[in-house]
């Protein structure tokens, strides 16, 4: 009995091999259709998983989205925070690192010794100095000779465009800052135009500003750039408020709300596009495969003529389809993942991380499509072998 089954099984595989090898052209065509489907499935699924995560990183182009200000203050006029507050801000999130920038604001007299011009201006002590909100790029219309540098040492400063215009300051100009009896000097390293309040300010190192104000270890505000999806940012803010009860944690609503809206739009668009493309591609591959399958009347007729039971014949063809689906899926999905890596690189400049889960999903879907498209062969069960050979059916 076992012997018979073994022989049967050996025969089954032998027929299968022959079926696949019989027509090279057909084999190639089927693998092409299935492989193309699998490639696009794998590429889009991988991109879909990766792009959503990447989008949240993209949104950080808007700069800081959370503020820490002293409790009860209206902006930053009254009250300061201890500088050590920032040590209590959790820095690592699943979406990436939180960027922290602390600042101290004062209104003092700034003068240019060279020309004798002086003006009362807002001076912001920043740590780290030169942190980019939006972009540092000076507008093309403002002036073409503005140089750009990230100041690192203590005695350099960054001047806002309007501030520089009022004082006639150029990159390299020396400035003197006086606050009652305290004096500091600095050299303008770059001039920037942001369109925001930074345009009216002079930015210096935090410790210089603290010396000028006579407020050692005090800051007026902390700006946080929190990565992640809008939901994750909300959770982070709530958590931070619990950890720092003596500080007001405020989302910058312009960006947190705008981002939430745009994020849901973009991810919805991406999901819907990928869904439609996958569905149609599956149907398209299925139609192409069915087309090939119903051509095989001759094969079915012959098998039935020499005594194959309908069930066995159908099983043979289903096994063939599954094998083809597996092969096409494996090749296609590998290509698709390479494709998505290239796409990720082209769009976001960083290669998309291949997700292992995508690979079996794409191969499984391809096999499913291949098997489903072999099902019309069931109809051939009612075929009369004789009429096939006479060429009637």
């Amino acid at each position: 009995m076992t012997e018979l089954r073994d022989t049967n099984r050996a025969m089954f595989w032998r027929i299968l091999r022959r079926l696949l090898g019989a027509n090279r052209g057909r084999l190639f065509v089927m693998l092409l259709a299935l492989g193309a489907g699998a490639a696009v499935t794998a590429a889009l699924l991988n991109l879909q998983v990766d792009a959503k995560r990447r989008l949240t990183t993209e949104f950080r182009a808007f700069g800081p989205n959370v503020l820490l200000v002293p409790r009860g203050s209206s902006g930053s006029s009254s009250g300061t925070l201890r500088e050590s507050t920032i040590d209590r801000v959790p820095g690592n999130l699943p979406g990436g690192r939180v960027t922290v920038s602390s600042s101290l604001y004062l209104i003092i007299n700034v003068s240019v010794p060279q020309s004798g011009k002086s003006v009362n201006a807002v001076v912001a002590g920043l740590n780290p100095l030169g942190i980019v909100k939006g972009s540092l790029r000076s507008s093309s219309a403002a002036a073409s000779n503005l140089s750009e540098a990230t100041p690192s040492s203590q005695d350099v400063c960054v001047a806002g465009a309007k501030f520089a215009q009022q004082l006639g300051a150029q990159p390299g100009t020396a400035l003197v800052l006086t606050s009652s009896d305290r004096r500091e000097s600095c050299r303008v390293a770059s001039i920037r135009q942001t369109g925001g309040p930074e345009d009216n300010r002079l930015e210096i190192g935090l410790s210089a500003a603290q010396r000028l104000a006579g407020l050692a270890d005090r800051i007026s505000m902390v700006e946080l750039t929190v990565p992640g999806t809008p939901g994750e940012i909300q959770t982070y803010i709530a958590d931070l408020q619990r950890r720092l009860p003596d500080v007001d944690v405020r989302p910058i609503r312009q960006f947190t709300e705008g981002e939430a809206k745009i994020y849901s739009r973009i991810s919805g668009l991406l999901t819907a596009t990928v869904g439609i493309v996958l569905l149609l591609t599956a149907l398209c591959v299925m139609a192409a495969m069915t087309n090939v399958a119903i051509e095989r009347k001759m094969d079915v007729g012959l098998m039935k003529a020499i005594g194959g039971a309908t069930r066995r014949v159908v099983r043979l063809f289903l096994a063939e389809a599954a094998l083809l689906g597996l092969a096409g899926g494996l090749i296609g999905a590998a290509l698709g993942i390479l494709l998505s890596i290239a796409l990720g690189k082209a769009v976001f400049g960083v290669a998309a991380r291949p997700r292992l889960i995508v690979y079996p999903v794409a191969v499984g879907l391809t096999m499913l499509v291949a098997i489903l498209s072999a099902f019309p062969l069931r109809r051939l069960a009612s075929l009369r072998p004789a009429s096939v050979f006479r060429g009637e059916a």
Binding site: V29, A36, N120, A141, G195, S220, C284, A288, V347
Partner: protein, 437 residues
């Protein structure tokens, strides 16, 4: 005879042709849907990005340096320059006036105010210790345009993240909205009213509080009133200090970053006629003399970067989808030729040349391509509409470009798919094929 052969081929194998046609239609449906969405997405998303609010700010050129910390200006009252409100309708006369989605002028003032319950007035303003910031602006303001039309705009367009509990004030009604913190600190509820006094202590208008503003910014500590009331309180009739403009723009590219002064005339025309944020800023500056129009870089550049990336992503997705559809359709038409070797052999045995056979099969495939491509286009447009309506609430317009691309793609793919097996078939001798070898 030729037509009869083609018609016969369709009549004899209807199932087969139907399936090839279905594969074609589905594949081209993918291509159409993906292309339509990718073509349309830039404009739609640019509109979505306006939920970030204004991307341009206009200030007086001759202004003294604002002493602004955390959104509060510490300059002495009356310092600095102002701009005339009467010039504002000109904003909608610039070349890209349709891209100006909204604008709102802002004037700050300081008042002393005391509250009164609706029934009982408390007239002693001296009990209020400090001056309070007042912000005058437009809400649902109707601007009369020079061409006779009207344009409704206001702070709700430029700062869409401001929420009002209750309702916004109606202009001309002596109403106001107070900030969340202001209300909390002073224990004022929405049913109260405000009695205002300007800087000299002279009584100003009495305002009914109709809403509580939650802005998440310094406005939460202020009283927000219609611009005309702020002008009266500040003694600056017909003037404003700062203007926020929200404009639909095209993401900046390398060309947009060139200095307009160094451009050649044709380049300048191209720059002027493209809705780059820099060219819109330039046009506004031309219309409003004595102003300084600055791009809010934080908004504009973040927006530009994300928009470019998302657009590119969708283009690549649609390209990948088209490629897959093309391969599947090509495979389908290749299969339909491979299975017809007997037929080809018979035709050749009866004296048809390779050219005639090829022509016949190509005609069949092209017919299928046009029918399948047409159906696929219709299918794709319906899907793109559904997608657009669901996500953006607006359907993409069907374009001739997509139609011609799709039909052309269908024709090329089916011809290429059948050309390779056809060449192999035409090289074969008819006799072995007919013998079934």
């Amino acid at each position: 005879m030729f037509l009869r052969l083609v018609a016969d081929s369709f009549g004899r194998r209807p199932r087969h042709k139907l399936l090839t046609g279905a594969a074609l239609a589905l594949g081209m449906g993918v291509a159409t849907a993906a292309l339509s969405v990718a073509l349309d997405v830039g404009d739609r998303l640019a509109k979505e990005f306006r939920s970030l609010g204004a991307n341009l700010v206009v200030t007086p050129k001759a202004d003294s340096l604002p002493l602004e910390i955390g959104g509060v200006d510490y300059r002495p009252v009356n310092a600095g320059a102002y701009l005339p409100e009467a010039d504002l309708p000109k904003l909608k006369t610039i070349f890209w006036h349709n891209n100006i989605m909204g604008f709102a002028p802002v004037l700050e003032a300081q008042v002393k105010a005391s509250t009164y319950p609706k029934d009982k007035l408390v007239l002693d303003y001296r009990s209020v210790p400090t001056f309070m910031p007042v912000l005058g602006t437009w809400v649902n303001h109707e601007v009369k345009l020079p061409d006779g039309g009207t344009f409704v705009t206001g702070i709700e367009k430029t700062n869409p993240w401001w929420h009002v509990e209750g309702r916004w004030f109606v202009e001309g009604n002596n109403e106001c909205v107070i900030g969340k913190n202001f209300a909390q600190k002073n224990g004022i509820s929405r049913s109260a009213g405000l009695l205002t006094y300007n800087l000299d202590g002279k009584p100003g208008p009495t305002l009914a509080i109709v809403g509580i503003l939650d802005s998440g910014g310094p406005e939460d500590d202020a009283i927000v009133v219609p611009l005309s009331i702020a002008q009266e309180l500040a003694g600056k009739p017909g003037q404003y200090r700062k203007l926020y403009v929200s404009a639909l723009t095209k993401p900046e590219d390398a060309f947009a970053r060139k200095d307009p002064k160094t451009m050649t005339p044709p380049e300048y025309d191209r720059w002027f006629c493209t809705p780059y944020i820099s060219s819109i800023a330039y046009q506004i500056q031309q219309e409003l003399p004595g102003t300084d129009v600055r791009v809010i870089r934080r908004v504009a550049e973040g927006e530009g970067q994300i928009l470019t990336h998302v657009e590119m992503l969708l283009w690549l997705v649609s390209l990948a989808a088209m490629l897959a559809a093309a391969l599947a359709v090509g495979a389908s038409s290749a299969a339909s030729v491979i299975e017809r070797q007997v037929e080809i052999g018979l035709m050749k045995a009866l004296g048809a040349g390779s050219g005639t056979v090829g022509f016949l099969l190509a005609a069949e495939q092209l017919l299928l391509a046009f029918v399948g491509g047409g159906v696929g286009y219709a299918l794709g447009i319906v899907l793109a509409r559904l997608l657009g309506e669901k996500i953006f609430g607006a359907a993409p317009e069907p374009t001739l470009l997509v139609f011609s691309v799709v039909i052309g793609l269908a024709a090329v793919v089916t011809l290429l798919g059948s050309a390779i097996p056809l060449r192999r078939a035409s090289r074969m001798e008819p006799a072995p094929i007919l013998r079934g070898e």
